[in-house]
Amino acid sequence: MVGKDASLELIDAVPVRHPWRWVGAAAILLALILVIQSMTTNPKFYWGTFRTYVFDVLVIQGVGWTLILTASSMVIAIVLAILLAFMRQSDNPLFRYVSWVWVWFFRGTPVYTQLLFWGSIGALYPKIIVGVPFGPELFSWDTATVINATVAAIVGLGLNESAYLAEIFRAGLKSVDNGQMEAAEALGMRRSKVMWRIILPQAMRVIIPPTGNETIGMLKTTSLVLAVPFTLDLTFVTNALASRTFLPIPLLMVAAFWYLVITSVFMVGQFYIERHFGKGVDNVMKAPVKATEVAASAHANPVKTTDGTTEGGKQ
């Protein structure tokens, strides 16, 4: 702390004024009021209908299914993307080619087509048979029971997304300085361990923002699952209600409202995930630092330190 000297004359400068910012703010506020006024007073929005359906059981179930589709397909996509990105950087040429072809195919064909394909796989292959080629069959299942509409929708969305995410993860891995790999390898760490413990956690800083983007994109892409056909998601349900009531606008608003709510929740989650992976790099001066605690306890009682530091030393 620097003590304030009475003779020290602190600068109290007049800041630069920005009058046009106030004008701009007023204009935007005015526009906003006009939009709100037009929406509330225009009877064709049917806000009463909006209120009737926004918490309707079918709509809430649609929100639930949309969340399930988004979450499970993103989990599949992220797991595959990590694998694909690691494979792409592998010394093994077979891994590199397989990864490249996967991305090429799933990124190169429309997601709608892929969903149609997974929806009709039961027609292409009525039975799934595990056996020796040209030999006896060991197990078999009915395709329709294994790959029902839910599975087809999740697998279709997940595999498609994995191709896009793989490129995001690859960019993230490439953003980490080469010296990190060298330092870790010089310590005798195996490459897979280096990737998992050293490179990927640093790459996550770069990977999270575009992955958040993809997740929010996926939330809306789930509306394409009618191609499977999967008929329980938010868009399908609100469309069905719209054609039943002959009032498409308020039900579009219902869907838009819920997509916006979910997106907002995702953004909050993303903030915390970004903060986690930014530790040591972003806002580093605010990082929790208890400098002397660990060392002091080590000197005081070396045996007890082992327990003391496991909780005291921030992991």
Binding site: G188, R190, R197, G280, V281, V284, A291, V294, A295
Partner: protein, 267 residues
């Protein structure tokens, strides 16, 4: 075994070298970087390599712990052929597991520190012992705190690298390498990226380490360190060893024109 440096070493003659470099060549594509290097380092010896940039001194160091693969010759550390296995006179590449095993015995300190930025100083030091040697976290921490104490940074254990000065980061990097209890330490221009007033702390730690009997190969521009701590000094230029011997003799009385010229520029 041609050994041109042994005369200068204080270690008694007849002791087997810990590091034995024989006729090593390295090509990067068409570029011939190392042109037949012979060198040996005895246990406990501090071997300092100096030379102009592009002389191949860093490349030689990187070849010893397999960050680069040699194109010809042999490198032995503790009688083990580095990077290869010789079966019936034919060399076979080591697999990744065997390479990792050889690296465990060799610590390396880099010019640009290369600490893991997402881990605290303490986490940096315990990473390899817990992950590679499978030590318990508690035991690794105790050892790590000793090492951080040794490099004068026990009060910085929970700081992230970005919260440390360059000199502090480099000392953590030294502690991190020592945590694997290597029998050989390689230093690749450890003070070249530091502000002048921070160089001293790092050199102090290296001196302490040398006194403790660690075998060290140090690529540096710090002639003072070479004179004071070095047991042998090797001057490299253009991918060859120009001369090597007792550091004090070479610095006071260089035999080759190229050595004279280089020393006159850095002293």
């Amino acid at each position: 075994m041609t050994d041109t440096t042994s005369t200068a070493s204080p270690v008694p003659a007849g002791v087997k070298p810990l590091v034995d470099i024989q006729g090593v060549h390295k090509f990067f594509g068409e570029h011939h970087v190392l042109k037949g290097i012979d060198m040996s380092v005895k246990p406990g010896e501090v071997s300092v390599i100096i030379g102009p940039s592009g002389s191949g001194k860093s490349t030689l160091l990187r070849c010893i712990n397999l960050l680069e693969t040699i194109s010809a010759g042999r490198i032995y550390v503790h009688d083990a052929l580095i990077g290869f296995k010789e079966i019936n006179g034919k060399l076979h590449d080591l697999n990744t597991k065997q390479i990792a095993g050889q690296r465990r015995e060799i610590g390396m300190v880099f010019q640009r520190f290369n600490l893991f930025p997402h881990k605290t100083a303490l986490q940096n030091v315990i990473e390899a012992p817990t992950q590679v040697k499978r030590q318990s976290k508690a035991a690794a921490k105790l050892k790590a705190l000793e090492l951080l104490e040794m490099v004068g940074l026990s009060d910085r254990a929970n700081f992230y690298p970005a919260q440390l000065s360059g000199g502090q980061q480099q000392r953590v990097a030294i502690a991190r390498a020592l945590a694997m209890e290597p029998e050989l330490m390689l230093f690749d221009e450890p003070t070249s990226a530091l502000d002048p007033e921070l160089v001293g702390d790092v050199l102090e730690v290296m001196k302490k380490l040398a006194k403790s009997g660690m075998t060290m190969i140090v690529v540096t521009h710090e002639i003072g360190f070479a004179r004071e701590v070095g047991d042998t000094l090797t001057f490299m230029d253009g991918g060859v060893v120009v001369e090597s011997g007792n550091p004090r003799d070479i610095i006071a009385n260089p035999q080759h024109d190229r050595t004279k010229e280089f020393l006159s520029r850095v002293l």
